[in-house]
């Protein structure tokens, strides 16, 4: 009897509370909760093992010795790094339209409109190679000892690389080795902030101001103290992300939607934009917000003995234009580009596009993206009409002898291109997608930044393929449908 009573008491209590709880659960109005939780996607940072004196006692005579010490405990890291584009500087091969043979990408092969190409110019370029000793074409990419672990993992800030990627004189390799940890913004930044030969030169949205950015400059790295690998997630030394400056496909992309919802705004009017407008377009209203970035480079004016200023003119490089607080250029992009490959012919009367986005308004996967466009005048073979990689560094290089003809000849020889002996300078441009320096939402673009009745907003609607401001002329849905049905009828005809 007692037992039964106790059980009935518990049963009764459960029934009572259950009924009340169920009623509340069923009928309480629910807060519509489609808010995303980006933090759920941010990688946790494991505590890094301290590599104290006992683990890496030293002394180390060379970088290679450090690497070998590392590999004793991390035997897989070597093989992983040998596959990494940070070591190979090579992507592909890609089947590119207009090319019979598959072409190779990566810094090793593609050219840009800054210092143009690494072939024949290796030592200064490879100072940023995650390896040791790449000074000519004979570099051994299969030797794990040539991997530079320190440039990404040291945390003292005293590790400096010189030409060929070797540690600079005076670096205390033992101290540096013992400091290793997870890569910080400084590690990645030591190369990526200084692309193009100096701080802030190349990207426009990557420079040393991001080492310790404030909240306004970059909401992720500033306000939330992100490190690069929080977004550029890395597994087995394969680092996430790529850029159209060296890559030619859309694999291994990083997206805002890795953490954020595709439609994260409270206002559906704004959410309706995300199918056609990249997050970056509104959330990075300007780039180069601390340090000016190079937007124009005229090689043709090099060689003059006139007053020099690293932001305006250098005898070895020519004339520059730098800008800060730059409002980006905007273009449709789905990540795919048309790539200039060394040897492709050019029309010197036209601007040659190094890597222009191929998408247009009729591509449903394309969105309007912000770009830095870097414009240059660079050397080409005026008889064969293709761009040349001039030898600038070292013996016979332009930076030594200021002889374009000889530089062109030596560069052509190294790249295996025929050189006619005639050179001139042709205009080129290069697209740099803007994706860092995300401003706090308080500074995101507002409606009237783009939608202005008299058409003076920052977007040129007609150039983008709209008939006019889509607020008045309608969005691109009709265009997409038309494009889709064209594709379908084409398919039907086949």
């Amino acid at each position: 009897m007692r037992k039964f009573k106790r059980r009935s008491w518990i049963l009764g209590a459960m029934l009572t509370f259950g009924a009340i709880a169920a009623a509340l659960f069923l009928f309480l109005p629910r807060q519509a909760s489609n808010r995303d939780d980006p933090w759920a996607h941010v990688p946790k940072h494991p505590v890094h093992t301290e590599h104290t004196v006992t683990l890496l006692a030293g002394p180390f005579e060379s970088g290679q010795e450090v690497t070998q010490a590392c590999l004793q405990c991390h035997p897989n890291a070597g093989a992983q790094m040998l596959q990494s584009s940070h070591f190979t500087w090579e992507h592909g091969p890609y089947d590119l339209p207009g090319h019979d043979e598959p072409v190779l990408g990566g810094k090793k092969y593609v050219i840009n409109n800054f210092c143009i190409g690494i072939t024949s110019n290796w030592p200064p370029c490879t100072a940023c190679h995650a390896g040791y000793g790449w000074e000519d074409e004979t570099f051994d990419f299969s030797d794990v000892a040539n991997i530079d672990c320190l440039v990404c993992h040291e945390t003292t800030g005293t590790y400096v690389k010189k030409n060929g990627g070797y540690p600079a004189e005076g670096v205390d390799l033992a101290a540096v080795a013992q400091s290793v940890g997870n890569p910080t913004r400084s590690n990645c930044g030591s190369c990526h902030f200084n692309g193009g030969g100096g701080d802030a030169v190349k990207h426009g949205d990557l420079d040393t101001s991001l080492t310790f950015p404030n909240d306004e400059l970059d909401v992720h790295m500033g306000k939330h103290d992100f490190v690069c690998t929080d977004c550029h997630r890395t597994q087995d030394h394969q680092i996430g992300g790529r850029s159209i400056s060296v890559s030619m496909d859309t694999a291994n992309q990083i997206a805002c939607t890795d953490c954020h919802l595709a439609t994260p705004h409270e206002d559906s009017r704004i959410n309706n934009h995300t199918a056609s407008v990249a997050c970056q377009t509104c959330h990075i209203p300007e780039f180069a917000r601390k340090l000016a970035t190079k937007v124009e480079w005229d090689w043709s004016q090099a060689g003059l003995d006139i007053p020099q200023d690293p932001h305006e003119y250098l005898k070895i490089k020519g004339a520059f234009v730098y800008e800060d607080d730059v409002v980006p250029d905007y273009a449709w992009s789905n990540g795919e580009i048309e790539r200039y490959i060394l040897g492709d012919s050019i029309d010197p009367a036209q601007v040659t596009h190094m890597n222009s986005p191929t998408a247009d308004i009729t591509d449903p996967t394309a969105r309007i993206w912000p770009f830095k466009i870097h414009r240059a005048m660079q050397i080409y073979d005026s008889e064969y009409n293709y761009l040349l990689v001039p030898k600038t560094y070292g013996e016979g290089g332009y930076w030594v002898d200021f002889d374009w003809g000889e530089a062109a000849r030596l560069g052509a020889e190294a790249t295996g291109l025929a050189y006619s002996g005639q050179y001139d300078f042709a205009p080129t441009d290069m697209y740099w997608p803007i994706t860092h320096m995300v401003a706090p939402k308080e500074q995101a673009l507002q409606c009237d930044t783009c939608h202005v009745e008299n058409g003076e907003g920052i977007l040129d609607w007609r150039a983008l393929g709209y008939e006019g401001d889509p607020m008045f002329y309608g969005g691109r849905a009709a265009r997409l449908l038309a494009a889709q049905s064209a594709v379908n009828s084409e398919g039907g005809a086949k």
Binding site: G12, Q446, E453, G455, D460
Partner: protein, 891 residues
């Protein structure tokens, strides 16, 4: 920060120098559509020939029906077309002659149009143009006399206000030569070119060169120049045929910037909004703080409190690219025109019939859709011709989260929540009973720390007062207002304001005050009058001023005070920034009951009255703070509004507390005495036996009810006094309370069915036979027997669990309190479904509260009485286990 003009220049330069890309845009966009046309003077002669001012009626009249336009424009008529003799305006002042700018006194500008026949002259028609006319588009009273004659045909005659100008400096009247001054035609340029020179227009009006005012609007366009020799038309801007060259045709649809020239600060540019952008002539901004801009407050250059966090645009409609004319459209504009729901047949949601565009362009109605604001009683026939919020917005779509949504919509205008705050300063009061050294009324502003107008002053903003106002649909809703209070002297019979020049004469003497004024006002004897001294706050000062005014021959001197209500309908914020917290209103410190300070003191002790017929329900009270400041406090109760969480009847809580404390005191006394006796003299133990008293179901429903009731009390007190439970979300507690109530009712229904079906109901029915004597026995037991350790007078058996007192108590609870509570509760909940029930809240809610108090009191007594069983915990144990201990006597 983002869009400095310099940067835009850089961008522009980059665009232009780009090697590739689209050619840069033209700097000044000529009209893509508008044909070329010649500029004609009043006689239809090309101005290049005549050199005379351009006539808009002739020039634009070449294609548009300008006569129709001028006739259909309250902007032009400004009340003149409906003007009446002084004092005949309903709810107007004795010197008001219309409901518009022409004839309706603006106590803030102070000068008044002199009614015909007045001995004292303030403003004649030409003077009106030079003052009020600065924000008048022309036409109407600037062109025609009251009887419709062209002013230029009137012969100069002194004495008639229409042909007389009064010079306040000399006090002299003079006949006005309209022929020489010209008149002001309705100024098409002011609203239809991108950059009209409004300042030049105003300066030309003030100089009395009325005929040239519209031409002056074109200065800076390159068409005309003002030289020392006069106005010169630039023939190079015109073609050989005398018509404008196409690139000089700058005609456009009116933009918000055009409207802003007279109405208030409109800032659609990217550069930061700064103090200088809010000009004294932006009277709508000065008087309410309204600013039409899509810029974020945080991006402005104003010194605002908490600015960093103010990342909202000044007005969401401005940010979303709406222009003034999107809501205030021309009434026959085919793009906007839509028949009112009131007259549209039920079977139509949209009437597609439109007049042809060409007809509209020929005769565009320049009466624009308008709301119905307290400050604009002009053209009442067009009130609420504007689209209402709900005609564009589907509030049901966005307010699903809002409990009692329809009730809220019926009680509160959209603006009340969606214009939660004005972030800048606004005029608060003007005291024309005294004058500053500048010869104007000292004024005070709200929403600013320091003297308004100094860019260093910190704008703290203000919350508009919410007053009930009848809306277009006939429903009275709370709407946001600024209240501007002015005091002034009136004199004479019929009453007129004391003229500014007379005030200046008695107060001022050259650059200083009159000696006896200074002596009377200068309390600290520093030779200057600060803002606390420059006040008519003593009989002595009042009499002094009265005497001095009498010295000018003025009679019947009185001080009047009036409150001008200004509706606030711009500076709308999106839902994210709207007032959403329940306790903003449902709390002691309710937004809805919030009073508004009117003035730092009450000049002459004269409590002001509300001006005009504003459609506002003025049930509130003027109160005076301890420091003498005057405020206006709305009276919610008088509006038959009952806000749970805010409104409480004090006597309900007093009665409730008395009931609760009475029971509690009785228990303390009774229980304490029992404890005392039992400690001193342990009661004899009665022989006890276990009886299975309560079935499983009885215990289940009892405890369910017990828990639900306790939770209802807990949530109820939060709803009753949310201010005491700040950490608890009012918006969550209300639905929890409602759900618990439903559980309680369902449980009660089941239990009632059980008691009927099982016949147990008879336990609750007092038996008439011997009821009183049995009741008395039970009372006697509680009063005496229990202390002596007597056995209970009635044996508790499963067949008869309740003693007579319990029976009568439960009978009352189940038949009176519970039904009353369920009914009132249900009706209060029903307000969410049938908003019309809301009018009954003022008595439903107090009953519900009072009964709740009784329940609380009962609960305390009930729990105490469980200790009066055979042992202290026997009854409690019995209700938990079902097995009760009863005395084994008499059975």
């Amino acid at each position: 920060m983002m869009f400095r003009p310099r940067k835009w220049l850089v961008v522009l330069v980059v665009m232009l120098t780009a090697w590739l890309g689209v050619a840069g845009s033209a700097l000044a966009d000529p009209s893509p559509l508008h044909p070329v046309f010649p500029f004609l003077d009043q006689d239809g002669v090309n101005v290049l020939e005549s050199g005379r001012p351009v006539s808009t009626m002739q020039t634009c009249g070449g294609c548009h029906d300008t006569a129709y336009i001028a006739e259909h424009s309250y902007h032009a008529a400004v009340g003149q077309d409906h003007s009446v003799a002084a004092g005949q305006v309903a709810d107007g002042r004795a010197w008001d002659m219309s409901r518009g700018l022409y004839g309706k006194w603006d106590p803030i500008l102070y000068r008044y149009l002199t009614p015909d026949g007045d001995a004292l002259f303030d403003l004649g028609a030409p003077d009106w143009i030079q003052t009020y006319g600065l924000r008048h588009v022309g036409g109407g009273p600037a062109q025609f006399s009251l009887d419709g004659a062209d002013l230029s045909t009137l012969s100069p005659a002194r004495g008639d206000p229409q042909t007389t100008s009064h010079d306040p400096a000399t006090g002299q009247d003079r006949a006005w030569d309209w022929q020489a001054s010209g008149t002001v035609e309705m100024n098409c340029f002011l609203c239809h070119i991108a950059e009209p020179d409004n300042e030049a227009r105003k300066a030309t009006l003030q100089a009395g060169q009325f005929g040239w005012a519209n031409t002056a609007t074109l200065l800076g366009s390159g068409l005309v120049e003002k030289t020392a020799d006069g106005w010169l038309w630039d023939a190079a801007a015109f073609g050989a045929d005398g018509a404008l060259l196409p690139e000089n045709v700058l005609v456009q649809s009116a933009t918000s910037n055009n409207c802003g020239q007279c109405h208030g600060a409109v800032h659609l540019e990217n550069d930061p909004l700064i103090c200088a952008d809010i000009k004294a002539s932006d009277w709508s901004s000065m008087r309410t703080g309204q600013i039409y801009s899509g810029q974020r407050l945080s991006d402005s250059g104003l010194n605002m409190a908490g600015k960093e966090g103010l990342i909202l645009p000044w007005d969401i409609h401005a940010e979303r690219n709406l222009k003034c004319t999107d809501c205030h459209f021309s009434l026959n504009n085919p793009a906007y025109q839509q028949e009112s729901e009131l007259t549209r047949p039920d079977y139509l949601t949209y009437d597609p019939r439109r007049q042809p565009l060409g007809d509209y362009l020929y005769r565009p109605n320049h009466d624009f859709a308008k709301g119905d604001t307290a400050q604009h009683p002009l053209a009442p026939e067009l009130s609420d011709s504007m689209r209402q919020c709900a005609e564009c917005h589907d509030s049901a779509e966005t307010h699903a989260w809002l409990p009692y949504a329809e009730t809220h919509m019926n009680a509160v205008a959209c603006e009340s929540c969606h214009i939660p705050k004005m972030y800048t300063a606004a005029l608060e009061s003007n005291d024309w009973t005294v004058l500053t050294l500048a010869g104007v009324a000292p004024s005070t502003h709200r929403g600013v720390e320091g003297e308004c107008g100094n860019p260093r002053d910190l704008m703290i903003g203000y919350h508009p007062i919410l007053l009930p106002q009848a809306d277009a649909d006939g429903v009275t809703r709370l709407s946001p207002f600024n209240l501007i209070t002015t005091w002034y002297w009136v004199q004479g019979e019929p009453e007129r304001p004391v003229r500014l020049e007379d005030l200046q004469a008695i107060y001022l003497d050259g650059d200083g005050y009159q000696a006896d004024v200074l002596a009377a006002f200068d309390a600290n004897k520093d030779g200057q009058l600060d803002e606390t001294e420059l006040r008519l706050d003593s009989d002595f000062k009042i009499e002094l001023i009265r005497r001095r005014l009498q010295g000018l021959g003025l009679q019947n001197l009185q001080i009047r005070g009036e409150v001008l209500p200004y509706n606030i309908s711009h500076n709308v914020v999106s839902g994210q920034w709207a007032t959403k917290e329940c306790d903003a209103c449902h709390s002691d410190d309710s937004r809805i009951a919030q009073s508004l300070p009117l003035a730092p003191y009450t000049p002459g002790g004269v409590t002001p009255t509300f001006a005009g017929n504003s459609g506002i329900s003025l049930s509130g009270d003027f109160t005076t703070d301890s420091d003498g400041a005057l405020r206006y406090a709305p009276n919610i109760a008088a509006e038959n509004l009952y806000l749970p969480g805010h409104n409480r009847l004090p006597w309900v809580d007093i009665v409730g507390w008395l009931a609760f404390l009475g029971v509690f005191a009785g228990i303390l006394g009774h229980g304490g005495y029992r404890l005392y006796l039992s400690a001193k003299n342990p009661p004899p133990a009665h022989e006890l036996k276990s009886v299975y008293m309560y079935s499983f179901y009885e215990r289940l429903w009892h405890w369910t009810q017990a828990i639900v009731i306790i939770l209802l009390m807990a949530t109820g007190i939060v709803i009753h006094r949310p201010d005491q439970f700040g950490a608890i979300d009012f918006g969550l507690v209300v639905p929890v309370h409602n759900i618990l109530a439903i559980v309680l009712v369902i449980n009660a229904v089941f239990s009632l069915f059980y008691h009927f079906a099982s016949g147990e109901i008879k336990q609750y029915l007092p038996r008439p036979a011997g009821f009183f004597s049995q009741g008395l026995l039970q009372i006697e037991f509680y009063l005496r027997g229990i202390f002596r350790g007597d056995p209970h007078p009635f044996a508790k058996t499963p067949e008869r669990k309740l003693n007579p007192l319990q029976q009568v108590t439960y009978f009352a609870i189940l038949n009176l309190l519970l039904p009353a509570q369920i009914l009132t509760g249900l009706l209060m909940f029903g307000v969410s479904l049938w908003p019309d029930l809301a009018v009954h809240l003022p008595y439903l809610a107090p009953i519900h509260t009072l009964v709740a108090w009784f329940f609380v009191s009962f609960l305390v007594l009930h729990i105490y009485l469980t200790t009066t069983g055979p042992t202290l915990t026997a009854d409690l144990r019995g209700m938990i286990t079902g097995w009760d201990q009863v005395e084994a006597h008499g059975q």
